[in-house]
Subunit: 199 residues, 2 copies
């Protein structure tokens, strides 16, 4: 049997633990790293350790931050009356990149899934409710996914706030801008047709 | 503009320097790393540093090793009369995995490419010639790729050894085992037909 250097095998193994990276890609990446400028490996190792040690969850929104409160929650120019609820911290990015949302965010940490034992207390739903009671939030944008679990999570939060004056909205569903009608899937077409708007 | 934590942006940037990994994949990998068990990041960082510090080039074959001489060159049971010449250290793997080659290897470090300024001295060709003069090698398997540059590199080495008694061979070209004839490219078909063998 081939005895490739053990540390090289260990590197391949660690890289192949990443999502979507199989053994062959991991090997290619490992060989790339060790074949080129070795400083790159040190940079990558350093930034990994730095991220591991420095990144924490923001105490207000549960997004990623380098201090107790993240830069968005800490920004006095953000609209404190509008709160956008997302599943994961990475979901904040498309909003910020497009610049549509001037308010704050709240990361649930997932969606309800009773079959997998994910109850409201497993997510940050109690913290969300508490925050809504304390702060003067006028609109809650439930920007969750379109899976049945995500939809029922949005519905659950909407029910909890049934008697609250907070305006609850969700993102529009429909045809993505620039896509060909013939390639639209049935469910999207159904939603786009049902929720058609007056020109 | 969005101010994602700087260390997170740095991590995405380092990951996106890897070959075949764009900015979106880098971001997905970064979020995966920071969202899960943080020990994984430390393990990856540690093995990167370990690989950076420990891996060296074998003084005999120029493959990767953790000591001066790699485990293959150091193995007394390998056939010292057969030397397989490859372009890159990663090319050793398919030979070892299939177990076809019982001899030793030699990593050229690339192929000749006069237009890019890659001359015999830029590769390990002088070291190969020197090694062939000193050691009792009977067969030299030129297992280089099938690009024009690789073919002319094999030809160049063959010319240098014109008056040498060393047997020079190259790998057979032909239809890969298990592939459908209808999907074979023209050049492979040409080679496979031209080099057809008696049953």
């Amino acid at each position: 049997m081939y005895s490739s250097p053990p540390v090289l095998e260990k590197l391949v193994q660690e890289i192949s633990k990443l999502p979507g990276i199989g053994r062959k890609t991991a090997r290619r990446l490992a060989f790339h790293l060790i074949s080129g400028d070795r400083e790159k490996m040190e940079n990558l190792a350093q930034v990994l350790m730095e991220a591991k040690n420095k990144l924490v969850h923001c105490k207000l929104c549960y997004g990623f931050a380098e201090s107790e409160i993240c830069q968005i929650c800490d920004n006095p120019r953000r609209d404190r009356e509008s709160l956008c609820v997302v599943e994961r911290a990475s979901d904040i990015l498309p909003f910020e990149n497009s610049g549509v949302h001037k308010g704050l965010y709240f990361v649930l940490g997932g969606v309800l899934s009773p079959l997998d034992g994910i109850k409201p207390e497993s997510l940050h739903i109690p913290e969300l409710i508490e925050r809504l009671e304390k702060e003067n939030i006028k609109e809650l944008i439930l920007a969750l996914g379109s899976s049945p679990e995500a939809e029922s999570t949005a519905l659950y939060i909407d029910r909890v706030l049934l008697n609250s004056p907070i305006h609850r909205t969700r993102l529009a569903r429909g045809i993505p801008v620039g896509s060909d009608l013939e390639f639209i899937d049935d469910v999207t077409m159904l939603r786009a047709f049902k929720e058609r708007v007056k020109i």
